[in-house]
């Protein structure tokens, strides 16, 4: 659009743009990857009209969109079914009453440990494109409410199981905590000690990262409940999400939502939960969200 401004007027605008220019500076590559990962973790569109080169396509016919959506849903359901079936077949585990939301930025299956995992075998989660799909965050522990049974997490992502706050609750579970680390998946056998092997188990690990439209929906439901002030219901929804999707790529956002809800409730565990969440170095946007909710 041709401007009718005079050169002097244009000069003022140029000066303004120059002073504003730091806002246009691109963030770090890590920041970009974190945003892209979180966008897909939270966005989960049914279809994508935006093209690879950034231009926007015309909306396709409804029939094509419906077909694509159904195909995606079917593929996701098949993948989820295969994963869940394999988990049950191999482990024979009962689902814990309270599954941790996130541990070491990877899904964790609630377990009872008779011998602690050697510290040398623990490795904090590292960055990378795959980790960054979940925000690259060695983040929070699970619920710290009385019904929860999750060990607090050390900064850096390792899980000191021996400091689990509620061992009695954990005795109900008949499995073993398996911090999911890339390239070091613990075989699901009766053995409860020993270093993890580098050979993956024969079956599919339930700790595999997942991103299902239903996960997004459930997390949205929890958020809506929280916004309406139904905090208990929101917490229950978050717990259900953690049980249903232990490998969810939304785990970091789910953990942040838990902290937010606890703070709004004024729960006694809110501060400790918040501290543990922040110790995991979550993305800035989640730190800010938690900070706003937990401000006294």
């Amino acid at each position: 659009m041709t401007s009718t401004l005079k050169p002097r007027e244009r000069r003022l605008l140029d000066a303004y743009l120059e002073l504003e220019s730091p806002l246009s500076e691109a963030g770090s590559e890590d920041e970009r990857e974190r945003i892209v990962a979180a966008a897909f973790a939270q966005g989960a569109p049914a279809g994508g009209p935006v093209t690879a080169d950034g231009s926007v396509r015309r909306v396709a016919s409804r029939g094509v969109l419906v077909g694509i959506g159904l195909g995606l849903c079917a593929a996701m359901l098949v993948g989820w079914w295969i994963g869940s079936t394999s988990m049950l077949e191999v482990s024979g585990l009962e689902r814990p009453e309270q599954a941790p939301l996130l541990r070491d930025n990877r899904p964790v299956r609630e377990a009872v440990r008779t011998t602690p995992e050697p510290r040398s075998s623990r490795r904090p989660s590292q960055g990378g494109a795959a980790a960054d799909l979940a925000g690259g965050v060695p983040s929070t522990e699970g619920l710290s409410e009385p019904t929860g049974a999750v060990a607090p997490q050390e900064p850096g992502g390792a899980v000191p199981v021996e400091s689990a706050p509620d061992d009695e609750a954990r005795t109900r579970v008949d499995a073993e905590i398996v911090p999911h680390r890339r390239g070091a998946v613990r075989p699901r056998t009766g053995a409860r000690s020993g270093p993890p092997t580098s050979e993956p188990p024969a079956s599919v690990s339930p700790a595999r990262p997942t991103l299902d439209p239903a996960e997004v929906t459930m997390l949205d439901q929890a958020r809506r409940l929280a916004r309406r002030g139904e905090h208990e219901a929101a917490l229950e929804k978050l717990r259900a999400h953690a049980r249903a999707y232990p490998g969810s790529l939304l785990a970091t956002e789910r953990a942040a939502e838990e902290v937010v809800v606890l703070c709004r409730m004024g729960a006694a565990s809110a501060e400790a939960t918040r501290a543990r969440f922040l110790a995991g170095r979550p993305p800035q946007y989640l730190r800010a969200r938690v900070g706003r909710a937990c401000t006294p």
Binding site: S3, A15, V36, A39, T51, G54, V56, R58, R292
Partner: protein, 189 residues
């Protein structure tokens, strides 16, 4: 046309042209969009009243919304128009939470930069900031998109929810007239 901020991997100054063949939104395509328009999103979020220390949050929300609603938002003339529509919505919600509706001027500059002819660039920038802060939002948005972002009237109409192009021109004309008066008055609104 005002000098545009330096484009990154894509031409920020372009209106996007005709929509290309659809291949779906992928992480790769989103990265390219991010690289091309991250600055656009951030600076317009600040222009729309978001404090700088909250700009990261808004940028995050914008791209999450872009992915989530890419199928719902229909056809836009350009990615920038689509992004601005999202920025505007996200910023409005965000400002309500922050209870801050005012446009924030630029922070005070510590470096005075005066050109050889005596033109004080820092003061000039703050003049523009004060002008924008006092302009009503409908005109401010149009002025910013036209004069600072170089968007076309159809693009702006798209970005503002499909308003009439004549409305865009009307608001822009009014904003320009007011800006001219301020410049003529020596920068005092």
């Amino acid at each position: 046309m005002v000098a545009q901020p330096t484009p990154t991997t894509a031409d920020e100054g372009s209106s996007g042209g005709s929509p290309a063949h659809a291949v779906g939104l992928t992480p790769r395509s989103l990265r390219r969009i991010y690289d091309a328009h991250h600055g656009f999103v951030r600076r317009n979020a600040v222009r729309l009243g978001i404090p700088r220390d909250h700009a990261d949050d808004v940028v995050q929300e914008v791209f999450v919304t872009l992915v989530r609603r890419s199928a719902e938002l229909g056809e836009f003339r350009s990615v920038r128009a689509l992004l601005f529509a999202i920025v505007r919505r996200v910023c409005a919600n965000y400002r309500r939470k922050l209870d801050r509706g005012r446009f924030r001027p630029l922070p005070g500059g510590t470096l005075r930069v005066v050109d050889d002819d005596g033109f004080d660039r820092v003061e000039a920038a703050h003049t523009v900031a004060r002008f924008l802060a006092r302009l009503d939002e409908p005109r401010r948005v149009v002025f910013v998109l036209a004069e600072l972002e170089g968007m076309s009237a159809p693009e702006i109409a798209d970005a503002l929810g499909g308003i009439n192009i004549n409305t865009v021109y009307t608001r822009l004309r009014a904003a320009r007239e007011r800006f001219k008066k301020i410049v003529a008055a020596g920068g005092q609104p």
